[in-house]
């Protein structure tokens, strides 16, 4: 028996605004009268480390998505997409922002950042659906590179069992009013990428 309508794993780097995405989805799910669960990374790992959030829409169990069972992997950073690809179900979809954020191990020369094609290759071999976009560039187009998370949310919106109108309502209630237009634009650009 399937225990959740839609399981999403959102990954990225501390500071990219991963929590905002799960917050908006949660608020929108509430508006849609769906039970919702989320799990977050706080504390030490937030300081530039890799972060992973779980969101389960239409679920009454725990907030944790099991490896091999996520319907969608939403990656704000390509290396993190591969790091957490184990969460994806064989029928899942990976939505990936291809703009890398270099970890300190790479900037100091202790490790190398792989080519994008080498990151995507193992994902392709999983037999899953992959959609890539440069959310950071799209966010710049919308008005601010920090809105890359909302670009990705726009892309994700096509896969959620929640009406877009409710996601937009939740977005409007969550982001500061002066950035709302940029965020709405970012959402639209992300949505367009997966159409």
């Amino acid at each position: 028996m399937k225990t959740s309508q839609c399981d999403v794993v959102v990954v990225g780097v501390g500071g990219q605004g991963v929590v905002l995405i799960s917050d908006i989805i949660g608020q929108a799910a509430l508006k849609a009268n769906l039970s919702v669960r989320g799990a977050e990374t706080h504390g030490m790992a937030q300081r530039g480390g890799s972060v992973v959030n779980h969101i389960r829409v239409g679920c009454e169990y725990s907030a944790m998505v099991s490896p091999g069972e996520a319907d969608v992997l939403l990656a704000l950073e390509p290396a993190e997409a591969l790091r957490y690809a184990k969460f994806l179900s064989p029928k899942g979809v990976a939505l990936i922002n291809v703009q890398p954020v270099l970890p300190v191990t790479v900037t100091t020369g202790a490790a190398e950042y792989p080519d994008l094609k080498d990151i995507l290759e193992p994902l392709k071999q999983m037999g899953i659906e992959i959609k890539t976009m440069n959310a950071t560039e799209l966010a710049k187009k919308a008005g601010h590179p920090q809105a890359a998370n909302v670009v990705m949310l726009g892309a994700l919106s096509k896969y959620l069992p929640i009406k877009e109108r409710l996601l937009m309502e939740a977005l409007s209630e969550t982001v500061p009013p002066k950035f709302l237009d940029i965020n709405k634009q970012a959402f639209e650009l992300g949505k367009f990428e997966v159409e």
């Binding site: 725990s62 907030a63 184990k86 064989p90």
Partner: protein, 598 residues
Amino acid sequence: MREYLLGNVAIAKGILEAGAGVISGYPGTPSSEIIDTLAPLAKEHKIHVEWSVNEKVALEVAIGASWTNTRSVATMKHVGLNVAADPFMTLPYLGVKGGLVVISADDPFCHSSQNEQDSRRYAQFARIPCFDPADPQEARDMILRAFQISEKFGVPVMLRPTTRVSHARSDVEVGPAQIRFQDPHFEKDPAHRVALPVHVRPLHSELLDKQEAIEEALAQEPWNKMDIKGDVGVIASGISGLYAQEAIAELEADISLLRIGTCPPPRKMMGQFLKMVRQVIVIEEMDPVIEEVVEMVAREENPNVEILGKKSGHVPSVGELDPLQVRMFIADMIERPEAKNASTLDDAATKILPPRPPALCPGCSHRATYYAMREAFGKEAIFPNDIGCYTMGVQMGTVDTCLCMGASITIASGIRFGGEERGICCVLGDSTFLHGGMPGLLNSAYNKARITIAVLDNSTTAMTGHQPHPGTGRSACGDCVVPVSIEEIATTLGAGFVETIDPCDLEATIDVFKKAKDYDGLSVVVAKHPCVITALKSGVRYKPLKVNEEKCVGCKKCVNFGCPAIEFDGQTAKINALCSGCGVCAQICPHDAMEVTE
């Protein structure tokens, strides 16, 4: 009213619903957001909310309030309970008046902690009831019940959320806040308030005599429930119970489930359950607290039942559990091999990925302090460290020890007294110094330890989410207070050398560290610079730097500094968009290649 809430926020709402009047705590992941949520609401609800200077202090404040017939809460992370253990262990003898709940948030897997101790053991040790929530809704519901149980039996009650409860979000049903200072009054009652031997001897017996009634009351709680569906069973507590419930639904198998939400657990229910199964697996995170009870009850009720769990090697005693692991434990028990991880990812594929450990922020002044400290003391010196963001300096080779809050100073002195002759410079932050560092400084001065103490003063409790402390001039609720001076405290406690520097002035900082090193006695260096995150939030902006590629010779001195804003393209250094403009790299560069952008 239904809201989408973080577990800790749901707990905070429950505290307001219960009408608690005093809430105190010390920040610690995963517990901090409880007081972070309540502090801004304190004035509106006419309650007292405080960041105390440590957990012992926090619990004692809550005890005073309880003895004044006001419901109170002390919040902390699991290791904070070690600090509060002294009042915690004797309080159950003396008892409470207004309900008192101790929230000790556990961190299985040490997501952000130095150990993964199980707070339920402390509740058992002190002989007090403990609630073990599985999700934010249970945490909110349990806190309301915890106050009632506390008042009914006159003992403190523990709520023990774990990281996956405190930092989970969920739709939670909450009610309106209550304002209820129910007749605050401290009643003089030496026999129950003064822990003299003559008083506590009978009180110990009274506490033991209460245990049976406490256990019977907890057994009635709705979080202890069983569902009999077959002769193979699962007993699971806290979040493991929710994982097990999901696993059984996914497996669509006829498996009996006993979910447990209290400690002590319900023995009678457990006995009934054990009589109806031939095989049972006990699933809980960390210590076999429930499993030990299951073994005892089984001996009386059904000695033939096969018990799987930690002792049989089926359930790990370390780390945290997750739904997949729990499903596989159950699937293995009923021999259902298809219930495995469905992922088609080749595990070896992730080997090409660079590690992404947490690191000090771009522009963090701790990095500059460490650089200067290492320059002055040399790499061979010993650098005992402490609990905070600055522990991440382990990547710079400037963190040689880290044990518990404030231990940097005392361990440094012990290393000196133990016979080490090399330079010793220990490091701790401002909040940690005020929490547990002061007795160590006093002790080191008193016992003439020849060491240097560096206090990295960024004027906040950064790691846990930027809480204020007595050095910041602000209380939890935003009231202005006179900030205490770490320098004056150090002088008063006996340090012979105390100097303050801004670590972003590298040359001056190296100079001060050299003087401190040469000082024949206890020296203190206060490296003072605001946390780069709080500075950004309050609108402080500096112009970022850029590399003059004609001057850069590619020596990598700046790259080795380890700032995430500095990259190397194979030929020259590059400054990326993360630069906060602290300017320290420009002072490190021997070729003047770092320039401020116009």
